[in-house]
Amino acid sequence: MSSFGFSADPLDPARYRQLLIDDACGGFVSFEGWVRNHNDNRPVVRLEYQAYEELGRKEGQRVLEEARQKFEISSALCVHRVGALEIGDMAVWVGVSAHHRDAAFKACRYIIDEIKHRVPIWKKEHYADGDSGWINC
């Protein structure tokens, strides 16, 4: 199983984890991206993610398929939050199960790195001073 999706609701790691359980697997690695209270030393109070979901799902799915080809994994799942997020909210969850931990670690890292660089998602940060801005734009 490999699946990429977006969620407008808070992410639910316990539920996603269940989807990856496999008696043949000895290792499971997950990554969670959390909304930090600062960025480049600037206090952040909340933020907003906007995604081009149709293309994002395709590209996210391609990333997961690449991970399955590059590493010996059993299952992989990635869910990215969209909409308004508060400090401490989970922005993205990635989980990978595999027979051996080496593949699980490498695939999980590959997936989050590629997702961040390739999937059309944008982040607007709102700062403590009232300013706000789209990151990277």
Partner: protein
Amino acid sequence: MIRIRVEFFAMLREHAGRANEDIETDAGTAAELYAELSGRHSFPAIGSMKVAINQEFADLDSRLADGDAVVFIPPVAGG
């Protein structure tokens, strides 16, 4: 003249003041269409712009066809 459906995201959506727009244009390529929209909506200069045509990544020099759905993709910032 061709008819193009453009969808805006992030900073482009804020500058355009709308999520999408149907436009009749003489633009031959995605890059030419972006220049036309930039003028109309006063888009700020954004480096490394990409484009998707009909829900697939495409080259900015791609020729546009009547009925294409176009999305300009500023640098992404997921995760």
